[in-house]
């Protein structure tokens, strides 16, 4: 049994300890907001927060997050009320939307550590998360908007 907390819910899981967190979330817990895009930490689609820090769940073993707090996109807010989600809606960021869970969680972590990020801060924090649809310009605007809304 592996114990972890996902979106503030305590979970006891009967899975192999080497199973990547991504597949535990998606195929065992049914939390499909976290996406598979590359499997080897190159695209960021599988990004979730572990104790607030963005990590690639595709290369993180479930045993490595035992006892920790995992936040997925489903845990951000039940009603799109989180400031980052609000900014994303205001800027109409998503196109296909597939990368956006990872983008939003990475942005959330950035804003938590750097409430007023510069463009360079955004480049650094967001570069690991690929968007094939090229929503980058709007992501940048949305992060600045969320930063403005917070202060």
């Amino acid at each position: 049994m592996i114990k972890l907390t996902v979106n503030n819910q305590q979970r006891d899981l009967d899975v192999e300890p080497q199973m990547p967190l991504l597949w535990v979330l998606r195929d065992i817990l049914g939390l499909t907001g976290t996406k598979y895009g590359c499997g080897i930490a190159l695209c960021g689609a599988c990004t979730v927060l572990v104790d607030g820090v963005p990590i690639r769940s595709c290369t993180t073993l479930v045993s490595a997050v035992e006892g920790k707090n995992v936040t997925t996109i489903e845990g951000l807010s039940p009603d799109n009320s989180h400031v980052v989600q609000q900014a994303w809606i205001a800027e109409d960021v998503p196109q296909c939307g597939f990368c956006q869970s990872g983008q939003i969680l990475a942005a959330t972590a950035l804003l938590a550590s750097t409430p007023n990020p510069t463009d360079e801060d955004i480049d650094k924090a967001m570069a690991p998360i690929l968007c094939r649809c090229g929503t980058y310009q709007r992501i940048r605007r949305a992060i600045h908007r969320a930063a403005g809304a917070k202060t």
Binding site: T34, G37, G39, L76, Q85, R138
Partner: protein, 713 residues
């Protein structure tokens, strides 16, 4: 492409009520060739739509449009409802969109099948969907006027209500359902004058955004069904190879693996979850029978193209190029090449199928519902109607999802094991088993007269054909129209032209890739034109402008991009501008790129984009599509290359097939040329002129033309 068919409303509208009292409107756009529009189904609310219903108006005043096209990011799930809502005078806050099932009633009139591609969704449905909205509005007004016993002319509509102006009586559409259903379908309902538009032309927020910021949007990858198993397929890395030996027992022993099945594309491992399927796939330790394409490699393919280049068939001919070249005072010659490209949709290919004895359900992120139905029916020996297609959101499409290889796999697997099966591709599967954008080899010659005008243009193209595989009848006199897109229709006034195409098909499968032939031909022709301008000692913008004297729309976007980028004004040291224009998918786009090179690395700082896409349905979505096209095309220009060695694709994941990242994204400014022409395409036309604008800027910086992609300095 054929124009929107004209048809009378009686032929294409049908109306019915559900048992719970919602008004259903069926529209049969594509079936206009038939006179037997199918009767509308009127089942209970548990199945709110019949197989051909398009619009539902419910008692709660909600208005739902069944969107026949696939939402892959291009905003169709918002743009099509806007067309309906405008003419219906609907309250936008009550408008919803759902994906339509696969049915002939949802054929795109421009595609003659249910398919999303060639930037045709708004173009195809622009006329009929607005007319349907206007007709239904008229039925609602007539119903209200009769109920109130007032003249029709005293009634008007706004925000989902019919209003009797003299008495200011109002009633909501939801209250008029039964009465409206009894009205005659009008023969002539007039669509609005564009000056009266409330929604069209406005940057209305996308309907799908809320579900895409909370993980709620369901992509193919996310489909979960009772008893569903998940499969990974091992496909031979060498094209055309087959499995000789594999260790079934070892795979079956992996915890969570349920089955190992041989299917037409390879060996599938079916498991409780994808991780087990992947581990099982590794355990197969397959020995492949290889060698049939062992000779196939990029260099050999290139020399095949090269040796065929001169024996192409004529795609376009004007004047006499020999005479033109004789009269020229200068000639310019160059060879241009482009590589194979993978699509790399952010969501790798996948499909869920549930096959039963006499029918089958498919959940799939597809651009081709009709093709999906047909492909599954073929595998199962079914009629297409026995296949139900549930289209999910698409995590990118770009042409890749108009194919059905992943559908065939899921259907074969579910048939084999009798439960729903989701087949998932890894990123490596996705990059190594794609239908690639064709690589091509191009020889160009141009003649310049004493006064600096272009008097002769020869372009010889050699490369593989997409259409010869997908629609063989579409190849005419050896010409695949997609291979010569742009090249055979140059907008420029050049008196003597000769464009040829030599079809060289290889074992590398090729397919539609965002903007198709235009994606490479605009790069080739627009960069070569800058070489011509250089030889003629003319400014690239001025030369284009003079050659576009008979092309007002192309010229207008060119001029707007030049004006907004302050073409000709000084730029900071180390930065240069490049310009290019292209007409594709019934729209015109010009880009000006500002580029620098630092430590051997190309950096695009800013792209000024000018668009004429006819009437602009939603400027917010059009701007987003231009930003998207810039990122997609810049990725290809900087990095995109699929190479072949021993019949194998050498790239496998984002480490060797990189995509543009946020820190490389230029600032994109979008400017519109306003037009009253019907809407043109939007998803693709921003792609073609981007690579040449960037490369022309590099040429201006270094004096060295970029003649092949990806860019190597």
């Amino acid at each position: 492409m054929s124009p929107t068919p004209s048809l009378t409303r009686r032929q294409f509208l049908s109306v019915g009520l559900t048992t719970a009292g919602a008004l259903l409107v069926g529209v049969d756009f594509a079936g206009c060739a038939r006179n037997d529009a199918p009767p509308i189904a009127s089942k209970g609310d548990e199945t709110p739509f019949g197989p051909n219903a398009w619009i539902r108006i419910a008692r709660d005043n909600s208005i739902t449009l069944l969107v026949p096209s696939s939402e892959m990011g291009q905003g169709v799930m918002t743009a099509l409802p806007m067309l309906l809502a405008e003419e219906l005078d609907a309250d936008w806050s009550k408008v919803q969109a759902e994906f339509a099932p696969a049915h002939a009633a949802y054929f795109n009139p421009l595609m003659r099948r249910q398919q999303t591609g060639s930037s045709t969704a708004v173009r195809g449905f622009w006329g009929p969907l607005r007319e349907a909205g206007a007709a239904v509005r008229e039925m609602l007004v007539t119903a209200a006027a009769k109920t109130w016993s007032v003249p029709l002319s005293e009634c008007t509509t706004a925000l989902g209500e019919v209003i009797h102006t003299p008495s200011n009586r109002r009633t909501r559409y939801g209250e008029l359902i039964e009465a409206a259903a009894k009205q005659k379908i009008p023969e002539n309902a007039f669509t609005k004058d564009s000056s009266k538009y409330r929604y069209l032309g406005k940057a209305i927020p996308r309907l799908d955004t809320p579900s895409k910021v909370n993980g709620g949007a369901v992509f193919g990858q996310d489909v979960r069904l009772d008893r569903m198993l998940i499969a990974a397929v091992a496909r031979c890395p060498e094209m055309g190879g087959k499995a000789k030996k594999f260790n079934k027992e070892a795979a079956a022993k992996v915890k969570g693996v349920r089955n190992v099945v041989e299917i037409s594309s390879g060996i599938a491992v079916i498991a409780d979850h994808f991780w087990a399927a992947l581990k099982g796939r590794e355990a197969l330790a397959i020995e492949w029978i290889e060698g049939s394409t062992a000779e196939l490699n990029s260099a050999a393919i290139r020399s095949q193209f090269k040796s065929s280049a001169k024996s192409g068939k004529v795609a376009n001919k004007a004047g006499n190029v020999e005479d033109g070249l004789r009269a020229a005072s200068k000639t310019v010659e160059a060879v241009y090449e482009v590589p194979y490209l993978a699509h790399a949709c952010m969501e790798p290919m996948n499909c869920v199928a549930h096959v039963r004895d006499s029918d089958c359900d498919i959940w799939v992120p597809t651009q081709g519902q009709t093709a999906t139905q047909r492909a599954a029916a073929k595998v199962l020996g079914f009629k297409p109607e026995q296949v139900n297609v549930h289209t999910t959101f698409l995590g990118g499409g770009f042409g890749r999802r108009s194919e059905t290889d992943f559908v065939v796999e899921a259907v074969e697997l579910s048939k084999a094991v009798g439960v729903p099966v989701k087949v998932m591709w890894t990123r490596e599967d996705d990059i190594q088993h794609d239908f690639y954008r064709p690589a091509t080899y191009n020889e160009l010659t141009a003649g310049i007269s004493k006064d600096g005008s272009v008097v002769a243009w020869i372009h010889r193209i050699a490369g593989p054909s997409i259409i010869s595989r997908l629609y063989p009848d579409g190849v005419k006199d050896g010409i695949d129209g997609t291979s010569v897109e742009i090249a055979a229709q140059l907008p420029y006034s050049i008196p003597n032209m000769h464009v040829t195409y030599a079809m060289v098909n290889t074992a590398i499968p090729v397919g539609f890739w965002r903007s198709v032939g235009a994606s490479q031909n605009a790069f080739i022709t627009e960069c070569f034109l800058d070489e011509v301008a250089h030889a003629a000692q003319r400014d690239p913008f001025d030369l284009r402008r003079s050659l576009l004297k008979d092309q007002p729309r192309a010229r207008a976007v060119l001029e707007l991009a030049a004006e907004k980028s302050q073409w000709g004004s000084p730029v900071p040291t180390g930065i240069a501008r490049g310009i290019a224009v292209a007409h594709s998918f019934a729209s015109f786009v010009a880009h000006v790129a500002e580029v620098s090179i630092t430590e051997g690395k190309v950096r695009v700082h800013r792209v000024v984009c000018a668009v004429d896409c006819g009437f602009i349905v939603n400027p917010g979505i059009v701007a987003a599509q231009m930003e998207s096209a810039v990122a997609y095309a810049l990725t290809a220009a900087l990095y995109g290359e699929i190479t072949i060695e021993n019949g194998r694709v050498q790239q496998s994941n984002f480490n060797n097939y990189p995509l543009l990242r946020i820190d490389e994204m230029p600032n994109v400014e979008v400017h519109f040329v306003h037009s009253d022409e019907p809407p043109g395409g939007v998803g693709e036309p921003g792609v073609p002129p981007l690579a040449p604008a960037v490369c022309n800027a590099i040429f201006a910086l270094t004096g060295k033309p970029i003649r092949s992609l990806p860019i190597r300095l």
